[in-house]
Symmetry: C2
Subunit: 294 residues, 2 copies
DNA sequence: AGCTCTTATGAATCATTGA
DNA sequence: GTCAATGATTCATAAGAGC
């Protein structure tokens, strides 16, 4: 990789990088055990054909494993690797390459610590004779050691968060009216929820995909990497996305005060990160929205 | 198996059976291709040690496969096999026996048509240093053929999130209505929503576990087998649960006018079904609650 | 500013057609 | 045959316009 292919992006105090190339090659420039967390959504089988060549489902494990070997090498002993992936339906059946990948990663030395479910609240439409719409993806959590860095308190949510979210759309007047006129349990509960303590989430994450007007569609919503970065790193830690794509992971990491390293084979990725760099304010990327989880 | 070990239970018109024994043995009395749907929640690894001997996680696939061979034999060509299962965490890691089971079942001739997620809205409490509460289980959908019986219309649900719609519309209109009328504004809106079109669900099922007064804890809530029975069978079809346990599948099947065959190795199962048999009314089991899904 | 209505848009999937 | 490209299907969100 030549020097011009590198784009160094500077945030206020931490250096974050957006690198062009295949992570299999680029990562070899990095020393062992320098990364705290890897969060990524790799190209799915038969997807992103223009950049990664549209990996065939049957070839997926062989394609992935050498790259995962690099991930294992650069990850710190207490670090984590979060892999967002979902097998596609092939010839009327779910393909097994993700299952085989999990088994192969374990043979490579990874521990399959947990499988989180991302419930896509607004999944893709469609109707077929033999299946319903696919509304979930896997977030596979691998670690090197049984003991790893995890800050559960960082992702606690107000109890009854679901209710609070839905009640947001209620105007204050409406609540007041209900409270004064009816005095029913409905209005009283609102007050109770707001004073509640924080609760720990579960391993099911309820997030909508971001289908806004951005021309560059992100693989996952900003809230997804946000959640895992909060959970599995501290401030100043290093977060790597080896298939950075739209740069969502980098944005989440930088906003949370982590150092971000993004790698992608597409020139657009680096260009996009350059666009977002704002040297005057000394900020990389724009501030994002708050997350909502489980 | 001796005749006294059989307990024949008669519903109004259809014969349903609760059989004592290991399904590996009992099913050999059944002819090929006589079952329309198999819905079951088998004993998980290391669970139910008193009845099935507490199958070790490493031995789980070997234990399961010969029984699955019987399932494949008795299932009709257009039938389905729904397996509710979740791997346990062993030594800080998710065990891989479920993944290996899926691969092994495919080698046996099954098609892995889909993986549904049962999101347990009220999951088991607890706190661990390296994981959150487990709020989901797999519902693996296997078939013999790519074409199989599926009645999607039977499980359609009102469009949108019911609760969300309800609270959103608690805006100006409802307050106005409340002011002008003595009656409850809620009731009026409910009528509106019921006029809406129905939508097809997704492959994520949102169901609360039943933490009711029953002393016999069911593996899954009644709504779970109900949903798959509605989706994958018609009236008069034959539903089999080879690990019938608490009898939830039988109850769901019989209430929906299907013929149910339940097998379990525990004497309690047969006794419980006998208790629930009410010959005066000619009904088997009590009517259940309606289901709520996605 | 709030609320309501409209509209664009997705890591989807299958059946069909064409090379 | 095998593989690749296209059309039809369809709904929860968020953004945007209008009052």
């Amino acid at each position: 990789m030549n020097a011009p292919e590198l784009a160094y992006l500077r945030a206020s105090t931490l250096d974050s990088e957006a690198l062009l190339g295949d992570c299999l090659d680029v990562l070899q420039r990095y020393p062992d055990q320098c990364i705290d967390l890897i969060v990524t959504s790799p190209p799915y089988a038969d997807q992103r054909a223009t950049t990664y060549g549209g990996i065939k489902p049957d070839d997926y494990v062989d394609w992935f494993l050498p790259r995962a070997a690099q991930f294992l090498r650069v990850l710190k002993p207490g670090g984590s690797f979060v892999l967002n992936i979902k097998e596609k339906a092939v010839h009327g059946e779910r393909h097994t390459y993700v299952l085989e990948l999990i088994l192969a990663l374990r043979k490579q030395g990874w521990l399959w610590t947990e499988e989180y479910v991302w419930h896509k609240k607004n999944c893709y439409p469609g109707k077929w004779p033999n299946r319903f719409r696919d509304a979930w993806e896997r977030c596979l959590h691998f670690t090197r050691n049984r003991q790893f860095k995890m800050n559960q308190d960082a992702v606690r949510v107000p109890m009854g968060d679901w209710a609070q979210t839905r009640l947001k759309s209620l105007g204050k007047n409406d609540v007041v009216r209900y409270d004064s006129q009816v005095g029913n349990a409905f209005a009283k509960n609102i007050a109770n929820w707001q004073g509640r303590a924080l609760a720990y989430p579960t391993n099911v994450l309820h997030l909508a995909t971001e289908c806004s007007n951005k021309q560059h569609s992100a693989a996952y919503p900003l809230a997804l990497p946000q959640w895992f970065i909060k959970l599995l790193t501290g401030e100043g830690d290093v977060v790597l996305d080896p298939f950075a794509g739209s740069g969502t992971t980098l944005q989440a990491a930088i906003e949370l005060g982590r150092r971000a390293i993004g790698i992608d084979i597409a020139q657009e990725f680096v260009d996009r990160c350059r666009e977002k760099l704002n040297p005057v304010q000394g900020r990389l990327l724009e501030p994002g929205k708050s997350y909502v989880v489980d």
